[in-house]
């Protein structure tokens, strides 16, 4: 699972609806790996349009990944160094194993062989 995917996911347990807590999910016991990917400006700009920047900054900081400005620059495209860093973070940083834990209700979503499991039990939906 790329870090990008994490930025798109939130806790969806029915009783857990505090937007301040159900996103971003907190990584725990993660195994990270870098997998080289071909750079693609159009793809990256497309992703930048969709990501939640504060959540990305918080998550990377918790993982010890550096190199992102605390606020989203107005124009990302004109900063080649930032574009390269975003590529490395969003598309090349892979979470092989671990879990994502909700800061609100504590629900834990496992990541196995790079695939996040967002399924809930019947009573949690």
């Amino acid at each position: 699972m790329r870090l990008l995917t994490h930025n798109m996911l939130q806790c969806h347990v029915k009783s857990c609806n505090d937007p301040a807590l159900n996103f971003p999910l907190q990584f725990q016991e993660v195994e990270l790996e870098q997998i080289e990917a071909e750079e693609n400006e159009a793809l990256l700009l497309n992703l930048v349009g969709k990501i939640d920047w504060p959540a990305l900054v918080q998550t990377t900081s918790e993982l010890g990944i550096t190199g992102l400005p605390p606020t989203k620059p107005d124009v990302v495209k004109n900063d080649p160094a930032l574009m390269k860093r975003l590529h490395e973070i969003l598309l090349e940083t892979n979470v092989a194993q671990g879990k994502m834990v909700c800061r609100g209700c504590g629900h834990s979503y496992p990541i196995k062989d790079g695939i996040p499991n967002m399924l809930l039990a019947e009573h949690e939906i």
């Binding site: 699972m1 930025n7 071909e38 159009a42 497309n46 992703l47 090349e92």
Partner: protein
């Protein structure tokens, strides 16, 4: 109707794999044909940035959409593909099918979930949505997903759960391709989508295959009233 774009290479999948994921059949191939017919619209008009397939299965459909229908245009558009499946065994198979067909995996995002649950609402807005649902008519007790979904009463139980989600996840210009059979009552589904969700549906492909009469229905937002 002949298919001119090559069908994805699935030679890496063995019969044992098809105990775990749905083996592509006439419904899958009709969906591929429909997407091929839609290729000019998808490439020239829609130019999708975000595509979602619910029920990734073998990966044949997402591979065909990414590799054959959009092809190198997907790279130009910066298209991102999201696939989901309830079945954890389907997603590694989909990844393998992408890799087998030479597609870059960093553009594919696999999530084990029900429909697209867990995707945050603010990040929704898919330009292409594809769903080949469990449509087969079975007893309600049999509703399930593996390896080929059973659809319960009228084959509609899973479909009817998904319909209300569609307008919430489709982008303003997004299109939704849905596989149905006659017993699902496609015209009734088209009416529901129009009257309840403001989505206009039309049949883009249909074919009799054995005992099934298959349809591919395309839905998009009704912009005539805005």
């Amino acid at each position: 109707m002949a298919s001119y774009l090559p069908t994805p290479d699935l030679s890496h999948l063995k019969s044992a794999d098809y105990h775990n994921v749905y083996e592509p059949a006439e419904d899958s191939f009709l969906l591929l044909d429909a997407l091929e017919l839609e290729a000019p619209f998808l490439n020239d008009q829609l130019q999708p940035r975000w595509c979602l397939e619910v029920g990734a299965g073998s990966g044949i459909v997402s591979t065909f959409l990414a590799g054959q229908v959009l092809g190198s245009r997907a790279v130009d558009f910066g298209t991102c593909f999201v696939v989901t499946d309830l079945n954890p065994r389907a997603l590694p198979v989909t990844q393998a099918t992408w890799a087998r067909n030479g597609l870059a995996l960093h553009r594919l995002h696999c999530i084990q979930t029900d429909f697209i649950r867990g995707w945050r609402p603010a990040a929704q807005g898919f330009d292409v949505l594809v769903f080949n649902p469990p449509y087969v008519v079975t007893s309600p007790e049999e509703v399930g997903s593996q390896p080929r979904g059973r659809g319960g009463i009228d084959g509609r139980q899973v479909i009817d759960q998904f319909l209300p989600i569609v307008p919430t996840i489709l982008s303003d210009r997004g299109v939704f391709y849905l596989v149905l059979i006659e017993q699902n009552r496609p015209q009734e589904i088209i009416s529901i989508m129009r009257d309840q969700y403001g989505l206009l549906g039309s049949i883009v492909a249909q074919r009799k295959a054995g005992i099934e009469y298959l349809y591919i229905v395309k839905f998009s937002r009704d912009t005539s009233t805005t």
